[in-house]
């Protein structure tokens, strides 16, 4: 019976249900059906004889990872990535749900594009894909998009990501208007006039390489603005891809004041610095840019003390011809699905900066809460059977040529990382088995 799965002998980390230890998990028809405490129960699995058995001995079992920020490039930029290749890549990375940004072509500022994405993902049948709609029509930053329509069509959030909402009045209107529809607003914080023509962080490395720098103030100025607008309107705001020390401090202080601000960061912001741009390495060119060691440490501290709620990938695949050019010309972005878990385990868990339960909060529980995915982010009975199983101790070398993603643009190629995803189960279907993506239905 393919729709029955038993995960045995795994070490379960499920903070939302307050479980951490050895539990067996039984999945039937796409839902978690039973969670058996190994200490209290003798195995009596006779009624589950025909189930698929996953032996998770030595492995860690967590809820399926949820990425609140990625770029799947379809419709319009399928040469970089499409929903199918993106889904495979996400699954390989341990993600069972992803929310994709609206900077597609056409922009996801109407129900047609939202429905297209949802239906495509459904037909592909691998992972859950939740479209994020635009804040402004065409992402032009001038007029509000039809947010009600976007919500009804299935958008889980709105954002102009890729671009900031530069006009503060429009941002205020976006917060107020969206609050009626109870749809989260995700803000890409970048003051374009301060960023000017910068192509990397303004600092020592940009002075050495003779490249125009983006001051950290470009991000911080708008983080401050959005915190203030959120406080003023009493509407929550979620800050995307936080990368600087001062951004973390602003958010920390705002939370102490009771402002309804949440924040995410990405693995590259707690793993590497602007030095990765040396030798004009375009694979390290990303927006916001890689910053300094001080910022890296502040991001990690922000994760540890709860200032930063979520780890997202900002998976941004590009074609090789868009990266294999002069640094100024190269497009911004890191293909991140398939290195996320490795970077988290290697740079957060192994050095004991945060513990596993915290990691699960940042990659499962809090994302589910932000996007109001009520049946996800937890391994308790009745929740959707989205499960990720990781070997924390497996060491491997990153090989971008083997990425499932069409985008091979990563600064982590040839890095040695710990933490390999061995199984990904989405909606009760095993889609990654022994580290390989298996696609049973591909009606795409």
């Amino acid at each position: 019976m393919k729709d029955r799965i038993i995960i045995r002998n795994g070490f379960v980390v499920d903070p939302k249900s307050s479980r951490q230890g050895y539990f067996d998990i039984i999945i039937i028809d796409g839902k978690i059906c039973e969670v058996i405490d190994k200490n209290n129960n003798i195995n009596c699995l006779s009624s589950y004889d025909y189930a698929q058995v996953i032996d998770a001995s030595g492995l860690t079992v967590i809820p399926g990872l949820i990425d609140v920020h990625c770029h799947l490039r379809e419709p319009g930029f399928e040469y970089k990535e499409d929903i199918f290749s993106g889904s495979m890549s996400a699954a390989k990375g341990g993600f069972t749900s992803v929310a994709c940004m609206p900077n597609t072509k056409p922009v996801a500022d109407n129900k047609t594009v939202i429905e297209y994405i949802k239906n495509k993902a459904k037909n592909i049948g691998l992972i859950n894909v939740f479209p994020i709609g635009a804040i402004s029509k065409g992402l032009e930053g001038l007029e509000l998009a039809e947010i009600g329509e976007l919500k009804d069509a299935g958008a889980v959030a709105i954002s102009d990501d890729g671009s900031p909402v530069s006009n503060s009045s429009l941002m205020k209107k976006a917060l107020l208007y969206s609050s009626y529809f109870d749809i989260p607003v995700i803000s890409h914080c970048e003051d374009l006039s301060l960023a000017e023509e910068g192509v990397m962080n303004e600092g020592k490395m940009s002075a050495i390489l003779g490249l125009k720098g983006i001051p950290s103030a470009a991000e911080e100025v708008m983080v401050a603005r959005d915190i203030i607008l959120s406080e003023y309107t009493n509407v929550p705001v979620h800050i995307a891809h936080v990368s600087t020390k001062l951004s973390v401090e602003l958010i920390r202080k705002a939370k102490h004041r009771g402002v309804k601000v949440t924040a995410e960061t990405c693995p590259h912001y707690f793993s590497i610095t602007e030095e990765a741009c040396d030798n004009f390495n375009t694979n390290a060119k990303v927006n916001p840019p890689l910053r300094t060691q001080d910022d890296v440490e502040a991001i990690i501290e922000g994760l540890a003390d709860g200032t930063i709620d979520i780890i997202a990938t900002d998976h941004a695949p590009h074609h090789i011809d868009e990266k294999n050019v002069e640094f100024n010309m190269a497009l911004n972005g890191i293909s991140g699905f398939e290195t996320a878990v490795g970077l988290c385990i290697t740079n957060l868990i192994k050095p004991k900066k945060i513990d596993l339960a915290d990691l699960v909060r940042k990659m499962c529980v809090n994302p589910a809460r932000l996007l109001k995915l009520t049946n996800k982010g937890c391994l308790d009975v009745g929740y959707d059977a989205d499960v990720t199983i990781i070997d924390l101790n497996a060491e491997y070398k990153v090989d971008s040529s083997k990425f499932y993603s069409k985008g091979k643009n990563t600064p982590f190629n040839n890095y040695h990382l710990y933490g390999e995803v061995k199984y990904t189960i989405a909606g009760g279907k095993i889609i990654v088995d022994g580290g390989n993506v298996i696609c049973s239905q591909t009606n795409w």
Partner: protein, 308 residues
């Protein structure tokens, strides 16, 4: 001793020994320049292409003459008049030139890192004739040659570089080269035109022009480009020349036998007054001569490497 790398992309990673190699070879080459018979056979049979994506009179001519004086086959491509205007990528252009049996490509490009990208993708040797804001190594080498020729010991020199440091590849290359030779490098310019963390490169950032010029052995003015004013980095040409330009009375703060240098072309009355340009401390014209000698030396050392 020669040069270690197949390419000359910048002075950031060059060694003192390599710099001295170039300077000493240039000294020999200068004699050729000053002679009646400006022809040597050292580059006979070599094919040298200058690939300029930016306008330039002096640097391009300097390289072409250097190549021809040494009997090389020299050709030029300027970006506007070629398939680059049709949208051909730098790598494709480079591979095409490579495929025609080229030994040396001399590239000037508006973007930092372009020569590095080119060098990674072609077999020919690449010389950086100026990439964006990054480096202009041959300019710095000729500047250092000029200083070495006149002052002998670079390690004891106080050098003042004045102007738009932020956008200046000449400044950067000079900073790399001079600090490596042990010189005391001081920079000054309007704060909007000073890179935030430039002191990490081993220079002193002076708050006043008088501090920079005080007892300087070398005073180097940098060209200010009009488009920087259009971007609002300084309010007017008048302000710039009043507060950040070098005039005769300021130059008196430097040593009596100081060298007044400028990579050219000079904006008369803007970064340097006419009196300063034409004063007896000025070595601006000698820099040009030294430029040809240094480029001859480089072409010689880089092509000779193949047989090593």
């Amino acid at each position: 001793m020669g040069l270690k790398n197949k390419n000359l992309l910048g002075l950031r990673n060059i060694t003192r020994e390599e710099i001295m190699s170039v300077l000493e070879t240039a000294k020999v080459m200068k004699k050729v320049l000053e002679s009646n018979n400006k022809k040597t056979p050292h580059l006979q049979g070599k094919s040298i292409v200058t690939l300029f994506y930016e306008n330039s009179t002096r640097t391009r001519l300097s390289f072409e003459l250097a190549a021809k004086f040494m009997s090389a086959n020299a050709s030029s491509i300027s970006a506007s008049a070629s398939s680059v205007a049709k949208g051909e990528t730098l790598i494709d252009t480079g591979k095409t030139i490579d495929a025609m049996g080229t030994d040396v490509v001399i590239i000037r490009h508006p973007m930092s890192g372009a020569p590095h990208l080119l060098a990674q993708n072609i077999k020919a040797c690449v010389i950086n004739a100026g990439d964006g804001m990054n480096e202009h190594p041959t300019q710095a080498l000729l500047d250092m040659y000029t200083m070495w020729d006149k002052k002998k010991d670079l390690s004891k020199l106080k050098v003042a570089i004045i102007g738009d440091i932020l956008h200046s590849r000449v400044a950067r290359s000079n900073i790399w080269g001079l600090t490596k030779m042990g010189a005391d490098v001081n920079v000054f310019g309007p704060p909007t035109l000073m890179p935030k963390d430039i002191s990490d490169l081993g220079v002193r950032v002076c708050k006043k022009i008088t501090d920079a010029l005080e007892a300087a052995d070398v005073v180097m003015g940098l060209r200010i480009q009009m488009e920087r004013q259009k971007k609002g980095l300084f309010p007017s040409v008048k302000e710039y020349s009043s507060y950040f330009g070098i005039n005769e009375s300021l130059l008196k703060l430097a040593k009596d036998d100081c060298l007044l240098m400028h990579p050219g072309p000079v904006n008369r009355g803007l970064e340097l007054t006419t009196q300063v340009i034409d004063c007896q401390n000025s070595v601006i014209n000698e820099q040009v001569t030294n430029g040809v000698a240094v480029r001859m030396a480089l072409l010689y050392l880089l092509t000779r490497r193949e047989h090593v």
